[in-house]
């Protein structure tokens, strides 16, 4: 079994079973959109796929190897942009991206290129505290352009983005997929990417009986 796959995943949030029996397989160059109503477990699933949390049951596989047993290799191959921007309000966009570039072993040129990608040059010297939510999200998304990674996990990436930035994001994602990358994106909106698979989490929601069973 090659590629990125999930097998029979189940997850709890608090004491509530969010989904169970969830399977998917994502070949290289493919994108997967996670859809479903609020609270159906999109963010939880993304965190499982990132290895930030552990599933209640099932496994996440990369080339047939459970990521729980190869955490370091999995971290090295993924970029995660979550709900929270993961940025420091007291730092500027340049400082934030330069710090992340150092962690990734990328150079100063990568920072400039990533800033250009999201038209951040005019905001470069401002502390993120004074930027708008959409501008901060652009800085958070610019980390995708710092260095290539095999897997991108995006949680509602277009929230508070303007149309131009949204177009830039999807163009960047398109290039990522064309280069053989994989993408999992949780969203309520349209994802204009070729070869998009959809996974509706409502299909894996447990019935009331199953929820009770999981708790007992």
């Amino acid at each position: 079994m090659t590629g990125f796959a999930a097998r029979d995943l189940a997850a709890l949030r608090g004491e509530r079973l969010l989904f169970r029996g969830l399977d998917f397989a994502l070949p290289a160059g493919a994108a997967l959109a996670l859809v479903g109503p609020n609270g159906s477990g999109k963010t939880t699933l993304l965190r499982l796929l990132a290895g930030l949390s552990r599933p209640l049951a099932g496994e996440v596989l990369w080339d047939g190897v459970d990521i729980a047993g190869a955490a370091e290799a999995h971290r090295a191959r993924l970029r995660y942009v979550g709900h929270l921007p993961g940025l420091k309000a007291a730092l500027t966009a340049t400082e934030s991206l330069a710090f992340e570039a150092r962690l990734l072993g990328a150079g100063a040129a990568a920072v400039t290129a990533a800033m250009t990608q999201f038209a951040l040059a005019p905001l470069a010297a401002l502390p993120l505290r004074v930027l708008s939510a959409g501008q901060r999200r652009r800085v958070a998304l610019a980390r995708l352009a710092l260095a290539p990674a095999a897997l991108w996990l995006l949680d509602e990436p277009v929230t508070s983005l303007d149309a131009a930035s949204e177009a830039r994001l999807w163009a960047l994602c398109g290039a990522h997929l064309a280069a053989g990358g994989r993408l999992v994106v949780a969203t309520h909106g349209a994802v204009p990417l070729p070869g998009l698979q959809r996974l509706d989490l409502a299909d894996f929601a447990p019935g009331q009986a199953a929820a009770v069973e999981a708790l007992s």
Partner: protein
């Protein structure tokens, strides 16, 4: 190693941008220590005698106040999950956080302590012992303290739990730190107490590097 230095550099830069915070810690330390004469009266001999204890107790409170800094802000704004996804192993993250915490709290208290010693008229020959004890003891407080801070990350109003959980753990450091100065004051060698503090530091280091990452993993797992 480069990653570790990058993180330490970023955190020091952040503290510098918000340099009011560590200064408030030092101000709290000085103020707390200076309140005691109002409480116990102006008996110079008594004050001289209790000075080491006061310095240590004030230092404990000042350190506890600053324990929210290492992880809580990073947890709230999502930088903790980003850091957890980098190549930096979690034990090194804990080590970097402990180091930055000590540099911006414990070390500043060591530098401020002579001021309190002068005000309490602590005999000059005792000051080096007090400072050495603080220099060995405050890193233990940072190491134990940030493990406690990490365990409270998931909890609601976790920052209130920090003093309750951390202060009891700090008691051995307090006792040894005060004993070292008292031994020197009564003409006995302070060395055994200082060596015990050093041993405590060597013990706290692996403990923090084992327990800290486990606590962080738990906090991240809960989202």
């Amino acid at each position: 190693m480069k990653v570790l230095l990058a993180l330490i550099g970023r955190d020091l830069r952040l503290v510098w941008r918000q340099r009011g915070e560590p200064l408030i810690g030092v101000a709290f330390f000085l103020l707390a220590a200076l309140l005691f004469p109002f409480g116990v009266g102006p008996d110079t001999d008594l004050l001289r005698q209790i000075a080491p204890g006061i310095v240590w107790v004030a230092a404990l409170f000042a350190v506890v106040l600053s324990l929210e800094r290492p992880f809580h802000a990073d947890h709230e704004d999502g930088t903790l999950e980003q850091l957890a996804l980098t190549a930096l192993p979690l034990p090194l993250l804990v080590l970097a956080k402990a180091l930055v915490h000590w540099l911006t709290s414990g070390l500043l208290l060591v530098l401020a302590a002579p001021l309190i010693a002068v005000i309490y008229d602590l005999p000059g020959e005792l000051l080096p012992v007090l400072l050495l004890a603080l220099l060995l003891g405050t890193p233990i407080l940072s190491l134990l303290g940030i493990v406690v801070a990490a365990t409270t990350l998931g909890a609601r109003r976790g920052s209130i739990l920090i003093p309750l959980l951390a202060l009891p753990l700090f008691v051995p450091v307090l006792i040894l730190g005060v004993l070292a100065v008292e031994a020197a004051a009564s003409g006995l060698p302070a060395r055994p107490h200082l060596l015990l503090l050093a041993a405590g530091l060597l013990l706290a280091l692996p403990l923090a590097l084992l327990a800290g990452p486990a606590a962080l993993r738990q906090a991240l797992d809960e989202g």
